[in-house]
Symmetry: C2
Subunit: 421 residues, 2 copies
């Protein structure tokens, strides 16, 4: 937290310190207030998001499923036949959710999202298992995080369980055709999105919004040839900051980072590793969480990642799952440490032969081995294991998660979708 | 700047520090490269933005001009009959600019702007002068800033003079009807906007974009009854940070700030005054620049505002004009100071009777007197002048600018529009 310059005095001083926290609390309270109960003056209360009311309008122009490995055409992401769409207004609350043919969204040029970045999203994958079943991974986590992001960016609140039901409803309809049983071991990418649609140029929270869910193809990003190469962020670009919104999956975290990423790519690196503060704390790698396996000076093996408490980084579902599995399954051989650590520490570990391995973790990049970090003119090579596909722990964690996602083991995180045939 | 943890070593260390600056340089170079000249392999070079090619498609359903004072209908901003629209693609460059009927924009659900906040804008007003002429104020400044913002958010570059010509073309067509000679002393609001339109979910710079310009009504915001009341930002929300993008007019600066502003409004304050760092530096008031007039302990009168060098604040056109006019016209009685100053200093000046006046400055709020700052449980009342409409300098500066905008004096900043009759 950034401390205030003036000591708190007076009755409302404490309240003034947590303006944002209280605003979030007020928005969250709306979930409880909505639905059914009318207020004193006989106006109907705004309606809550209700997945059970979902209507289905099926496409009359079904499209062809692309061959395996094709995810876009002419630079456009390929999506499935349908999408789910739910308008919201402050006055009426959530409209009836609709599953309908995939197609363009019409916005007035004055729409809030086009000017003030009133937008947030989620990303999760649907997996066609080796047992033939269709699964999604911990959708409860994504649905809960979508609520956090939505409220942070002044978009409406909703019960996360209803969002999860809508996500399942879309994949239930389009999964059988687009992620067919004949392609076990493949995945698609779900993108729940919320945007501020009010046609109003004033800098104010939008009174109209649209929640939509689409299902798309995405390339496999977890095994680049030779591993992922990272370039540390420059002094003139800081991704997120204490008191900011680095923890939320809002558009405002992404657009501003593209410039440095593009420049790093032109120099031969795939992603930027974002440093923070004069200490150079490692936070995220690209739009993924970042893990380093190092030995301590005493020879103890640690798997280290940035902490959540300063709200600089995304509370990643893959990050959380990684931490939990390592804690459960190899507590005795490796210590899990969530703490602030600097690029200096990583470079020191390298120069002392204590750097074991490193990987990025996220839904898009899954568990992706990192082979190199470039920092201020120096290259740090990171061991990639005997087969060159990532170190021992990188491969171990990847295998554990893959087994859950593709149904090689039964696990509560792998939620089976009841497909509509 | 946030210093790096590790001292620069090796040949490319300096280059690594300025990744963003170099990325911006590369984007700027595109302006020179585009247009006419083909590269070696006979592909035509991408086309530059060219206002001279503007085509005109006039509306067949002209709408009615609202009565004076009406700027929106059912929460939607009222715009004029036409807009200007120019698509861009990395491959082909800028398409032919088109003036066409105002109407919705169609975007695929995967469009970059809806997910990654690849968007920026400008705001400037068109003024119907007391001499009957139509003017805009320093459009060269807005056009140049739009280029800075566009490049910062990984949208295309363009020659600012071409944007300025397009702005003038729209107001030339819609000005005569929508800002008629019978309403001298009134204004409308121009909003040039750029959005990333590529239908691609990857976190990458969009290869397609759309520039559009709209002309809308906006309420008068510069004279709220009793003056503008400000609430200092909480510890848990920092608007912009060193190494960030506070200086750019990108959507990512606005959406995240709405939450605290909404909460401040619900407590009876109109805007948030954004503090920075543990020192509590005053940066902006709402989405405007902020000025304080204080006497020094030695009795000298100073007009103080935050500096531009750390790139935390917007380089406002009204801010810049204010500084220049005060320096030109009352150098002997008041000293103009651009420096970092803290909320503590303002509160100390108040308690010692040295706080003279304060105002917000920007296109939307124009020069708006500030009557109160609430900070950590304490209220600081700020003198509002004898008539209660703002202090001496607030009123003086407002008058100077108004005279230029509405043609009471001839001044190079007031650019006369050649109207199409």
């Amino acid at each position: 937290m950034v401390p205030s310059a003036v000591p708190s005095t007076g009755p409302s001083a404490g309240q003034d310190l947590s303006l944002t926290a209280q605003a979030i609390e007020h928005r969250m309270e709306e979930i409880g207030r909505a639905n059914g109960t009318s207020n004193g003056d006989h106006k109907p209360a705004p309606k809550e998001l209700d997945a059970s009311k979902l209507t289905y309008t099926f496409t009359k122009s079904p499209r062809e499923v692309p061959p395996p490995g094709v995810d876009s055409v002419d630079g456009s992401t390929i999506c499935t036949d349908h999408m789910i769409s739910v308008p919201w207004s402050q006055k009426n609350g959530w409209s009836t959710p609709e599953l309908k043919p995939y197609g363009p969204i019409s916005l007035m040029p004055t729409a809030s999202v086009l000017h003030y970045a009133t937008e947030c999203f989620e990303g999760l994958k649907a997996y066609r298992g080796f047992d033939g079943k269709l699964r999604i991974f911990r959708p409860d986590c994504n649905s809960a995080r979508m609520l956090q992001s939505s409220v942070r960016i002044s978009l409406p609140s909703f019960p996360p369980a209803e969002l999860q039901k809508l996500i399942l409803a879309l994949i239930a309809v389009d999964g059988p055709k687009w992620l067919p049983r004949e392609r076990p071991g493949t995945f698609m990418y779900l993108r729940p999105t919320m945007i501020g649609t009010q046609s109003q140029l004033g800098v104010t929270a939008p009174m109209e919004a649209l929640l939509y869910i689409i299902l798309s193809f995405m390339p496999v990003l977890d095994s680049p040839a030779g591993g992922m190469k990272l370039h540390t962020s420059p002094d003139d670009m800081v991704r997120a900051w204490v008191g900011g919104f680095g923890y939320a999956k809002v558009g405002a975290n992404y657009g501003p980072s593209l410039l440095a990423t593009h420049e790093a790519k032109s120099r031969g690196y795939q992603q930027v590793i974002w440093l923070y503060g004069k200490e150079g704390y490692c936070t995220e790698a690209g739009a993924s969480n970042f893990f380093v396996v190092m030995k301590t000076k005493e020879g103890k093996t640690q798997i280290v990642t940035a902490p959540l408490d300063d709200r600089l980084i995304l509370d990643g579902v893959t990050r959380r799952s990684t931490l939990q599995l390592v804690r459960e399954r190899c507590r005795d051989e490796v210590e899990v440490v969530e703490r602030s650590y600097t690029i200096d520490e990583v470079m020191e570990a390298d120069s002392e032969g204590r750097l074991v391995e490193a990987f990025a973790a996220g839904t898009a990049f899954f568990i992706c081995p990192v082979s190199l970090i470039h920092h201020r003119g120096r290259d740090v090579a990171i061991p990639m294991g005997k087969a060159g596909a990532g170190g021992h722990y990188t491969q171990l964690i990847k295998g554990w998660l893959r087994d859950i996602m593709y149904g090689r083991v039964e696990h509560p995180w792998g939620v089976v979708v009841q497909e509509q045939q």
